[in-house]
Symmetry: C2
Subunit: 128 residues, 2 copies
DNA sequence: ATAAACTCTCCATTAACTGGAATGTAAAGA
DNA sequence: TCTTTACATTCCAGTTAATGGAGAGTTTAT
């Protein structure tokens, strides 16, 4: 498939997908006639995965590492396992923080009455 | 307190804290003699909050909005509530994705035996 | 055949920092 | 008091991960 189809399926912009090709993250085949990039389903799966990881602030380099968990046949599974566990730990770290951010906002919502009075117990919470 | 103390407490770099002052996100008082930035506990609480929100990819502009939920006394609580609920929804969205990323990695770990054999059921999972 | 839609490369710009130089201030020890 | 060390300031350049636009070629649809 062409780049716009791949972008659509992976919910990334065409620009971003092209960028990932430029930096050799997901390198599609090329149509020899037109020079157009030609994406497979596997390519799209990788793009999806990268999109997900990027949305959680894994850097491009970390994404490369994560992708290599899938791809690098020369790595022992021991090493792969170690790397993956480290990534999971860092995800769990973020997950914890995530909940605390959500809780802070939830608390705000609950303590606001939602009418039109312009008051809310505000900096009390902030400076706790 | 001085900037390095504020940075330490908020787990941000001094550079970042100074940057947030430059862009008028958290503007500390100034020591009139030295010109040094002087942070209060409230300032640190704000920095903490911004740090948390940034780690979840809320943009600087969104962080400003979130901060205004706490600070803007001129906003009706109705409006505040609406904004906050929208933010919570977007957090929940991210949370869902987060879990799916974690699951994908967990699955990888579980299907690896963790010994030294260089094999792992890899692109099978990717191309599912 | 020609327009619309899509693709390409290349170059500039953006957001949110990050690093480094040059310089000023403050705290601690001799 | 002097001075060394640690910390602070501004300013400017560089980085990461895109994003936007120009100019030109390709494909598809009428």
């Amino acid at each position: 498939m062409n780049i716009s189809q791949a972008a659509k399926l992976s919910k990334l912009s065409v620009k971003t997908v092209r960028y990932y090709a430029d930096i050799k993250m997901v390198e599609p085949a090329r149509n020899i006639r037109s020079g157009y990039r030609s994406y497979t389903n596997d390519d799209v799966a990788k793009l999806n995965f990268i999109g997900k990881a990027r949305r959680f602030n894994f850097s491009i380099e970390e994404c490369r590492e994560l992708l290599s968990l899938y791809q690098n046949k020369n790595r022992s599974s021991k090493e792969v396992k170690k790397l993956t566990l480290a990534k999971i730990a860092s995800i769990d770290e973020k997950l914890k923080e995530f909940h605390s951010l959500r809780d802070e906002l939830s608390y705000l919502v609950n303590c606001c009455n939602g009418d039109d009075r312009p008051s809310c117990p505000i900096l009390d919470e902030l400076s706790k």
